[in-house]
Symmetry: C2
Subunit: 380 residues, 2 copies
């Protein structure tokens, strides 16, 4: 799962306004997370001072991130016409809780994928391996790192619903939004399992058509719905007190294609992106054997020689720079890259068309239009 670097907070790259940061959302989300962690730290310090490294690691980890899901949740709430002064901080707090879900998913994902870095810093399991080594403790540092990553991801996962539930909105309203919240979590975890399964089956076991179909399912559930459609609908449900209404359907018509375009952009960046902008080493997605739609399309369009190169290199943890370069050429030469770029354009246009037709708050419409560009035209 890719969640490219934090850098946008300090170095705007394009001439576009930073839609993710209107009303200072990014800093406000960070402040909510920080305040929440302060409370948890106070609680855990009563249990044992040995828990300090846990909170410190989560604090550092949560410091990164573009706050994309909170932004979509917030603008879903605003799309429903909500902007009441006293409820606004509570809605923002509910939106901020999605960063905890994302952090949990990334911590576990990095361990599952064996990724060494995240957001330019060591992955959580590597950080705790280091703690073990520095302490000169017993047993294998890798096992301690694994255990810590599992448990830190778990605690972050429960803290997501704790912050969401305690956001301060009326309990009846939070309760009404729960079906979206619950569905979002089940979907993203199901998508992650299917992603792991797809990698295990690899390119050899399945036909190119099966591989592509599975890659599309993973893209939809692990990423598209989870990143844009569900956060938007969650925000709207918090405002309307209804999980299923015309606005939810309209937000789906905008959010689902946009989410797919977002993930296709992520797939492209995962192979062709600049490591300085993505925060992940070049070729990591290829070494991990990620069965993305981009790769599945390349496999489907490949000549025998190209298919052989793809099967040999994909998922090889020792793939070097030349090997990465060769796979990049295959993906470009088959036309898979061009097809994905075309598809990103189509999906973004579909999303914007649906946005234009939807009945919603005008400022929300404007910002969601800008967010569509931010999600699909980014570099990291």
């Amino acid at each position: 799962m890719n969640d490219p670097v934090r850098s946008a907070a300090t170095t705007p790259r394009s001439r576009e306004p930073d839609a993710l940061d209107r009303y200072g959302l990014r800093a406000r989300v960070s402040a909510e997370l920080s305040a929440f962690l302060d409370g948890q730290e106070a609680l855990l310090s009563q249990v044992s001072t040995d828990l300090e490294p846990v909170v410190a690691a989560l604090r550092d980890f949560l410091d990164g991130g573009k706050r994309m899901r909170p932004a979509f949740c917030y603008w879903g709430w605003r799309a429903a016409g909500a902007r009441d002064g006293s409820a606004e901080p509570a809605a923002l707090r509910a939106a901020a809780s999605l960063e905890l879900l994302q952090a949990s998913a990334l911590i576990h994902d990095d361990y599952i994928d064996g990724s060494d870095t995240r957001r330019g810093a060591p992955a959580i399991h590597r950080r705790f391996e280091r703690l073990h080594r520095d302490g000169g403790w017993e047993g294998e540092p890798e096992r301690f790192g694994a255990a810590a990553a599992v448990l830190l991801g778990d605690i972050t996962l429960t803290w997501c619903d704790e912050l969401f539930t305690r956001c301060g909105l009326d309990p009846a309203r939070i309760h009404a939004a729960r079906p979206v919240f619950d569905l979002m979590r089940s979907e993203v975890m199901a998508g992650q399992y299917l992603d792991v399964l797809a990698q295990a089956r690899g390119l050899s076991v399945s036909t190119p058509r099966e591989t592509l179909e599975r890659a599309r399912t993973v893209l939809r559930y692990k990423s598209a719905k989870y990143t844009i459609e569900r956060p938007l609908q969650l925000g709207a449900a918090l405002a309307t007190g209804a999980a299923d209404d015309p606005l939810a359907a309209a937000l789906s018509r905008y959010g689902l294609p946009l989410g797919e375009a977002f993930q296709l952009r992520d797939d492209v960046l995962g192979v062709f992106g600049d490591p300085a902008a993505t925060g992940k080493p070049a070729g990591d997605d290829l070494r991990e054997g990620k069965q993305t739609v981009l790769v599945a399309l390349a496999a489907q369009r490949a000549t025998d020689a190209q298919a052989k190169a793809l099967r040999a290199g994909l998922g090889d943890p020792r793939l070097d720079a030349a090997g990465v370069e060769q796979l990049c050429s295959v993906i470009a030469d088959t036309g898979a890259l061009a097809e994905v770029e075309t598809r990103i354009g189509e999906l973004t246009r579909d999303a914007l068309a649906a946005l234009g037709e939807a009945s919603m708050d005008e400022e929300a419409r404007e910002v969601l239009g800008e967010l569509a560009h931010a999600a699909t035209a980014r570099h990291g």
Copy 2:
């Protein structure tokens, strides 16, 4: 309550009434979990039929278990005087959700500890390793098993709060009980981290006094509070709509010592228990290097020769039957076993004394008295 359903799973070992099963609680908890899984299965089947093994594994996993936490939650609810007909099934559903939290903790714990079996069946990570091998898939079966265990534990963790929140009680009442629910989850995860940390530090790095103090913290947070005190208080809060009242304090005076006695009994069974009754191979706790209070007491009381044997054998994954036997002798010969047995008796008496003084529903008092014996005088 009329027409209680009898549990087929009940095979009482002693002359005592099976307090865990009064009102057919065990079968009713199982029925709630089964109905909940039916709903999730229907939802996931819309994502992909590849998710069938996930639900099947969780169904099998949840089939085991004594339903101890749901029973304490239910009787906490009853202790507050609640027994209203229409709310009773909803309260039971909230209680049943605790089995999902426990399943999540066990799935992740078994993976972290490298345990092969749980409840007499393969641990989840082993089950999915097998799926990988049977499918002839790519990559290492162990990595696939690890990924599946992490993700199945995650989904079960979110399903716990989904079932809890959707139990059907008034949202305001659920909301009022959330502080207990949240605290319980943070405490058990903090306790698990501290347990892993204690094993990493081992007997060599720390003094016997430090080891014992840490073992007591782990016992309290990973087990005692989580198994008895918090479930009781959660049930009471669902009934009273208040997380912090005199009943909560009284339940703590009963639940905390009883929880400690329960875990001390578990420590003893983990070393001296009959594998046929515990469902875990003899000596597993010793091979895993668990830093229990029992082991910490033995370390504190050991002669130099005994301490050397303890340090050498504890945490050795290749420890054979003779090695297990030797460690058992050390633990008995130091007097640690006798001290723990004495402490179990004292704690149980403290719990029963507090129960006698508390102001609560009389039937709940009677059942909680029986549960105190069930939790501490058990064999598996």
